[in-house]
């Protein structure tokens, strides 16, 4: 099978399939991941090929899913957990933050919990309440967890395979509004980058747009639009939110002198706050403008008819770009 055009869903599905094939201890578990293939069909066909023992439909209880995954990992298994929607992870939050994140440290390294927690996250799909949330900051704030979010099918494929192979717990945030975007994936090739490396998605010299997951596409479109006005915007796809590839970020901002961070999550106490602080510390003498942030508002995620107002879009990103360039 050579390189092909894959949707992100298919890229993820193929990553799960290859991981199940590669290691008999790898398990897929979650609500409706079996015969249905998951509500987004990310696990489509896996139950048929790997059976009940490897692809496990669980009771409808997120803490139970997470807690039993921890027990299975203690027994030597490598569970890949699907949380059906972002807003449903909170019942499992205690198990993730209190148990999953801390076990390696508190056992002085005796216990490894190589668990990947897949969560379709973010908005923009016209969903009902609790189906559009961006909670990455909660997880990134927790030592012991690694947090990543791919922006395109190729990264989705390789980052998931890398996350599953990792001996650390990884929160894997899938930008559900990009599930149906297409991209070239070659499952027989190899990963272009380590799991926690950032990537310059588009080079430029006037300003750095920093994004991850669903907002990378918006930033690329903004860079394209800005080019028409003669601005060369660099887009850094962070990919990993814990750890953050600060070296790559620093290199970019030292080149451009300006940075705007973009995410769907509320600006207040979001990833952007940490990124802006770090960029300021590392690039203070290179900065021509304060680091600006574009994100969701400090309000509950709104009903879908007004979510376009809440979500950063091309115009809001360009507005911030203009403000940064005007300094």
């Amino acid at each position: 099978m050579a390189a092909e055009n894959y949707s992100m869903v298919k890229a993820l599905n193929e990553a799960l399939r290859r991981s199940l094939e590669a290691d008999p201890k790898t398990l897929v578990m979650g609500e409706d991941v079996g015969r249905l293939g998951g509500v987004f069909r990310v696990t489509d066909g896996l139950h048929k090929d790997f059976g009940d023992a490897r692809v496990i439909d669980t009771p409808l209880a997120e803490s139970g899913i997470m807690g039993t995954a921890i027990g299975l990992a203690l027994r030597g298994y490598r569970p890949v957990v699907e949380i059906q929607f972002d807003g449903f992870v909170y019942p499992a939050f205690d198990q993730i933050v209190t148990q999953l994140a801390k076990m390696h440290a508190r056992s002085l390294g005796h216990v490894k919990l190589p668990i990947t927690v897949r969560i379709p996250f973010g908005g923009g799909i016209g969903a009902v309440e609790h189906h559009s949330e961006s909670h990455e900051a909660y997880f990134a704030h927790t030592a012991g967890l690694k947090v990543v979010s791919p922006s395109n099918p190729a990264d989705a494929h390789w980052m998931l395979r890398q996350a599953i192979a990792s001996d650390d717990p990884v929160i894997f945030l899938e930008p559900k509004r990009r599930y149906w975007d297409k991209g070239v994936v070659d499952p027989l090739g190899e990963a272009a980058l380590p799991l926690h490396a950032a990537r310059v998605a588009r080079p430029g010299k006037d300003l750095t747009l920093v994004a991850y997951g669903p907002m990378v596409k918006v930033c690329l479109e903004a860079a394209e639009a800005a080019a028409e006005d003669g601005h060369q915007i660099e887009v850094v796809d962070l990919r990993s939110l814990s750890p953050v590839d600060f070296d790559a970020l620093e290199a970019s901002v030292k080149r451009t002198g300006r940075a705007v961070v973009v995410h769907e999550a509320p600006v207040f106490m979001g990833m952007g706050a940490e990124l802006a602080a770090r960029i300021t510390e590392r690039c203070f003498y290179s900065l021509e403008a304060p680091v600006l942030r574009v994100g969701g508002y400090f309000a509950p995620y709104p009903p879908s008819r007004v979510e376009e107002t809440y979500l950063p879009d091309l115009d809001r990103v360009l507005d911030a770009v203009d403000r940064a360039l005007a300094f």
């Binding site: 027990g71 027994r75 508190r106 056992s107 002085l108 030592a143 650390d168 926690h196 814990s242």
Partner: protein, 373 residues
């Protein structure tokens, strides 16, 4: 059994309590649960009970002397723990709360290992794989899910190991415990849910957690529940063996409610005189888990004063070893904060460790800041 009365009376009655050894040390038979014991085994059980109580008492003393920050005493629950601990085979796993010192003893965990977290030198720190004894779990009920997941793994592996999940009457209200019941039930996992109903969740009586006897909860989840005299080590041993055997044979989970009593405070920070009457304690003292075994041994003439003296001497030896061990427990190196946060490392942890080391070094030896680095 129907429960017609409102909250409060259901647990006050003591229904269907499995007992093989009365508080007076009289051996009785039970129609469902039998147990063969040799005099030697009984003496060994007695020794476990005494040593565990002595260790526990020493730990309480060490807290009072400032050597431990906190201690959660198991006083009164020795039989529940020694009985269920001895029922396990080496391949079986125990998932404890933070009070299972007697189970740890039976599994062969060095008691000193249990004290590190209470002294504040680690958060557990022993290797759970060494004795198949998981780290203590402080957030109530979480470990029942880990136990269930582990048991699901046993089923996948096709071995005949089993798991004991420990929790208490307070934990029975937690969502995680009820989810563990559900998962264990639908996957038919080889896990024994061992609830030590010690009557008190800090200051709240069991009546605040349930309107039905806790063992009856199992019926709603589709597996058997048994209430056993938790102060009767023989009954606990027999019932736990039965439950583990079922689990090994693919018959799935069971719930054991060990009806016992927390003789001491919840922890050394607690003051039970604020919420329970002294009479209650006096009443339970008559049901002491150790005295009845001693009475039985004496009654049958299976142990003489020389034996009891030897056990006492051994317990003093253990206390001395624990005392010295705790006092000699070194504080961790400050840089240990940064160790083992991740299995495969993390750039930020490395960066902050380097920052700390440089900061500490800036004092230029004027202060002790750890070793080496």
């Amino acid at each position: 059994m129907t429960v017609e009365s409102p909250a409060g009376t259901a647990t006050a009655a003591v229904p269907e309590l499995v007992q093989l050894l009365t508080p007076e040390g009289e051996r009785v038979e039970h129609p469902r649960f039998s147990l063969e014991t040799t005099p030697e085994e009984l003496r060994s059980i007695y020794r476990d009970l005494v040593l565990v109580r002595r260790f526990d008492g020493e730990a309480t003393a060490l807290q009072r002397q400032g050597e431990l920050g906190l201690w959660a005493s198991l006083l009164g629950q020795e039989a529940a723990q020694v009985g269920s601990g001895r029922a396990q085979r080496p391949g079986d796993w125990a998932f404890p709360t933070y009070r299972e010192h007697g189970v740890a003893w039976c599994k062969g965990v060095d008691p000193l290992n249990l004290l590190g977290m209470f002294r504040g030198v680690n958060h557990g720190g022993w290797d759970p794989y060494e004795k198949n004894f998981n780290l203590y779990t402080i957030v109530i009920g979480s470990q029942t899910l880990h136990a269930t997941g582990y048991a699901m793994g046993i089923t996948k592996d096709g071995t005949d190991d089993a798991v004991v999940a420990y929790f208490g009457d307070g934990a029975s209200s937690q969502g995680d415990v009820n989810e563990a019941f559900t998962f264990a039930s639908v996957y038919n996992a080889p896990v024994v849910f061992f609830c030590q109903n010690n009557q008190w969740a800090i200051s709240e009586p069991t009546e605040r957690q349930t309107r039905v006897p806790l063992y009856q909860r199992a019926a709603g989840f589709g597996f058997p529940g048994v209430r056993v005299d938790g102060n009767d080590v023989l009954a606990v041993l027999a019932v736990t063996r039965w439950a583990l055997e079922r689990a090994r044979n693919g018959e799935g989970p069971a719930l054991i409610e060990a009806f016992t009593y927390r003789m001491g405070a919840h922890t050394t920070s607690d003051d039970p005189t604020r919420y329970r009457i002294a009479d209650e304690l006096e009443e339970w003292k008559l049901k002491d888990p150790i005295e009845r075994v001693k009475a039985y041994l004496v009654r049958e003439d299976w142990a003489d004063q020389e034996f009891f003296d030897a056990v006492d001497a051994e317990s003093e030896q253990l206390a001395r070893r624990v005392r010295e061990g705790v006092r000699n427990m070194p504080d961790p190196d400050p840089t240990s904060i940064f160790e083992n946060v991740y299995a495969e490392g993390h750039a930020l942890v490395d960066e902050e460790r380097a920052e700390y080391v440089a900061y500490a070094a800036s004092f230029d030896g004027s202060e002790e800041v750890g070793e080496g680095r």
